[in-house]
């Protein structure tokens, strides 16, 4: 009995660094824009409906990272349209803004950071594709872009339409 418990504890301890490693890698992928974001339909007023594809050796990590990537994508990347879907530009389209506000975004995108307030899952379904040694996971999420824009305006990251007048 004791031996079994010891083995189980050892397995958990061995798995933890691998999970943490996958998470760290996924975070780096976000920083380097290694995710895909596409329009998933015209959202209701104040929201963008997007499908985000994230990569990780662990499908669970990739799925978790999708929410963060969706907000990151809406702020820095924007997305293309087509089939009745309207393309949108990134909220922060000034070059170098990510570096300029590095500390702000570090905190904003930290685990359980403020980004979480502006994104929600729209359904339980997710697409999982095995690509080589890792998983590519696609999830449709809704980003509260109006609220997100207001928060970025308040932080001084982007200018409001009426600012300066």
């Amino acid at each position: 009995m004791k031996r079994n418990i010891l083995l189980l504890a050892l397995a958990v301890l061995m798995a933890m660094p691998s999970f943490a490693g996958a998470k760290k890698k996924a975070e780096k992928d976000t920083e380097h824009f290694r995710y895909e974001i596409e329009c998933a339909g015209n959202g209701t007023q104040g929201t963008y409906l997007v499908k985000v594809w994230s990569y990780s050796k662990r499908a669970k990590v990739a799925a978790e990272q999708c929410m963060k990537n969706a907000v990151h994508g809406v702020i820095f990347k924007g997305y293309t349209g087509g089939n009745g879907c309207v393309a949108q530009k990134p909220l922060a389209n000034r070059p170098g803004v990510e570096m300029e506000y590095e500390e702000f975004f570090k905190l904003f995108f930290s685990d359980n950071g403020e980004y979480y307030k502006y994104v929600s899952l729209t359904g339980a379904t997710q697409d999982v594709v095995k690509v080589g040694k890792e998983y590519k996971v696609g999830i449709i999420v809704s980003v509260q872009k109006d609220e997100l824009r207001k928060a970025l305006e308040q932080a001084g990251v982007i200018r409001g339409l009426g600012s300066g007048f």
């Binding site: 015209n42 209701t44 007023q45 349209g81 089939n83 009745g84 879907c85 309207v86 393309a87 949108q88 530009k89 389209n93 872009k145 109006d146 200018r159 409001g160 339409l161 009426g162 600012s163 300066g164 007048f165």
Partner: protein
Amino acid sequence: MKKYLFIAAMLTMSLAVFSQAKKPTLMVMPSDAWCYQNGYMKIIPDGEGHEAQIPDYEEALRTSMDLKLAIAKINDLMAERGFPLKDLEQQVKLIRQQTAEQNLVTSKSGNEMAESPVDNLLRVAKADIIIELTWDIKEQGPKRTLSYILEGKDSYTGKSIGGSNGTSSPSFSADVSVLLEEAVVAHIDNFNSRLQAYFDDLFANGREVSLEIRVFADNAAGIDLESEVGTDGEELAEVIDGWMATNTVEGRFTKLGSSENYIAYEQVRIPLYSNSGVAMDTEAFARKLRNYLRKEPFNIPVKIMNRGLGKCILVLGEK
């Protein structure tokens, strides 16, 4: 001591208010193409024996619920972005009310209010930036698609600020108002991003305005733009060119055309603030030029006619 502190605080507050650039006004209007397609045109004599067709906004607003809905939606979304718009319907009503008042008001001795033909002409619904809205429904069997164009135009320079357009995905059930609302919601961010780029350019390179210089015929000062008024025999047009080069942002302006009676300047980049930090518009810029011309050695009287935030006409020779 408290008194001085209070005065200092009040001065700082007033300076903060003054140092904000003047906010351009925006208004959504249906485009001429939309008015024509939907039969909202009226025919008026052009004064030369011909007839001209102009958009009948009053009739369009009275009868088209779709138009009212689209304008209300855009107004709502722009207010959300901290940029409330002028409402076309209210403007049309205001003009009608002003005209009615104008016709009724008399002084105690029975005199009517003074109004020149130019005053009458200027009393139209206007804004510094016009957002033109056009849409069209195409039906293919039971399916409907909506094509949509939103385009911003600078009223004074006539330049397009940018726009947003697209076609909705085909729908079997949605009616026009639903398709229109969806299109407005989906496209407004792209439009605003272009508007933001326009404002950013304005802050970086100054406001772009137009200026016209004209001369009163047989004026009392006895001058035209070819009069040699400079200290070293410079013509008046050259003197004004020189002043423009010194007082525009990085000397940016385009001289569109000139004669002894007329100069048209376009793409004139004026600073947003004067040297004292007060917000500047075209009239303030024109006043600076007037002050320069009426001083020694020129001594030329100048009449300024303001045409809004972005255009001014200076008439030389008399007031």
